[in-house]
Symmetry: C2
Subunit: 346 residues, 2 copies
Amino acid sequence: MDKRATSYDVARLAGVSQSAVSRVFSPNGSASKTTRERVLAAAHELGFVPNPIAKSLSLGRSRLAGLVVTQYAQQNYPLALKSAVDLMSETGDALLIQIVDPTDMGDAAIRQLLEKRVDMILCAASISREAAVHCTDAGVPLVMINRQSECAGVDAVCSPNDAIMHDVVDMLHASGARHCVFLGGGGNNWVSAERCRGFVEACTAKGLPEPIVLEDAFTYNGGQSAIRALGASVTNLDAVVAANDAMAIGAMDVLRLDFGLNIPDDIQVVGHDDTETGRFQSYQLTSVRQNMLGIFAKAIELAVSRRNEYRRPDAKITVKNELVERTTTARPTASARDRLAPGTEE
Amino acid sequence: MDKRATSYDVARLAGVSQSAVSRVFSPNGSASKTTRERVLAAAHELGFVPNPIAKSLSLGRSRLAGLVVTQYAQQNYPLALKSAVDLMSETGDALLIQIVDPTDMGDAAIRQLLEKRVDMILCAASISREAAVHCTDAGVPLVMINRQSECAGVDAVCSPNDAIMHDVVDMLHASGARHCVFLGGGGNNWVSAERCRGFVEACTAKGLPEPIVLEDAFTYNGGQSAIRALGASVTNLDAVVAANDAMAIGAMDVLRLDFGLNIPDDIQVVGHDDTETGRFQSYQLTSVRQNMLGIFAKAIELAVSRRNEYRRPDAKITVKNELVERTTTARPTASARDRLAPGTEE
DNA sequence: TCCAGCCTTGCATGCGGATGCAAAGCTTGA
DNA sequence: TCAAGCTTTGCATCCGCATGCAAGGCTGGA
């Protein structure tokens, strides 16, 4: 197995010093036109590619970013992953991924990433305060994604998980829904908790009866079992709002197949995350779409800025999300509303 | 931001040389009990963790593995990813991920990984012969996953994508199905092509009429449009076999919602990959389960062995897969079969 | 008691590239 | 033509750890 060419090899072939080669391959390096040409020719001939490991050691930057995500098969994190990878590779950085079980904290993942000397960490899982402190102690920018951080020096980028619920409640209210149930993931699931809180608040603000809140696994099966637990009382409900699409879809299957209900005529359903599954013809699930690409772009931006300006106020950014209405909800159309007597809506 | 401790810091504190520290942290390093204790105490006090980048430079190994996967939201690659990450971290290695669009070749991804100096590459996407040669030239073991490689020095781990189709055909045949259609992903999709070939061969072997083969996108939408393209002729069919669950599910939705057909009574459906979506109560899709963990374990094993024994015969390993029967197919049960007159089955 | 042989330890160097510093080369204006 | 000032170049060193080599310490057997 042939060793790959080094800058010394290139220098020898080009008849220059190693530092000249290094300068040709550095963005700020000064080199004359002729030197540059001879070096590039030699480099091309030898198939020279600068060794990123040596570069890392010298620069004190690994050009590796860590990403911690929670394992949910039905979440749309494949999309998030792709966003992150693409954004990182734009600047020549690579992504180190850690996947955390939904019921676990991400502390071990953070530790492993720090040991690998990543330059920054994007974390979309719950972690302890100590884990966050480890990052700031090591000077590694940490950005939480869709999660709160109670630790100084840590930035966060979130969808307005709570605020969007006002839109959801407005929509349900306009369609005449009054009694709602919320399906949440429970445990230390920050996203679910925020969505729940937002929903309950929005119901109160809109004058709806306080919704029932059920917690179960943050999955299809969790959605199913939560609805099954309601039993016959489900017929008193007007709408099911779930903290993610997976639970909403689980709920839909039970509502239709076990209880024989019609969606949205008998009961409406709202999910969250706008997954591909929710767009299936069988579901056509009304959901909330997050701007994952925007979230990751912002998160990376924050992490980079943190390197340049270590002591700056912590950022707490939200990236706009959006309610996508499909056929599991039934807001009256403009024409339908016209047919109602004025005032009926209140 | 405080710099992290180095082996020199530890050495100074412990009153030994840097090499002593290095030896304490090396698996084969020799150090007396007292030295070891003093070094470990000093290391603990300083929170010393060996810098993996310096280690990499010194050892010529990055302890980074590259993984190239195709982006399919409805595939179960979240599971595959988790398997790979977990297996790698067992040995202290990390995973660099590259995600390739379904319609693209993975050549750019391979190049990026090589430039990052990964120690090995696991590739579950189509790549050109040249890309594979780049790997072997650079001495980086390349293992293809569920893909053929026509390049010397490259190993491959596959499910028996073709052979399992005999089981599928046996099952369909037993239920009385005769006229089948196969939905494939087309393009340079090796997995789909293998499954298709296997199915057609199995039908021939079993004496069934030659199946219709339709190609479309390897997705839910692709499955839908393929079935829609059949039009009314769909009523002449007994079974739809798809190259993945996503297409099968798209097909199911069109068969039921557009054509009003009953599954499995009017037509049977078989998918592939045993995704979570296929297990939904609404689908209960008969599918083929691959042993992803086993596949990745074997792939990593091959890559590692390739490092130790560079010139060995190329390995071509298959990891057993398994037909999982659910309610979209209807193989007669033993009791049902008893009720049939003997010989009816032939 | 003495020496052979093993275990420990430190020194020096290598891995491959970045960069401060000073010397050398070049441009420009008087 | 010459000096001031800028650019280009090479030298030396650093980044942090691993390891070959040789010196020193230790053990045990004769």
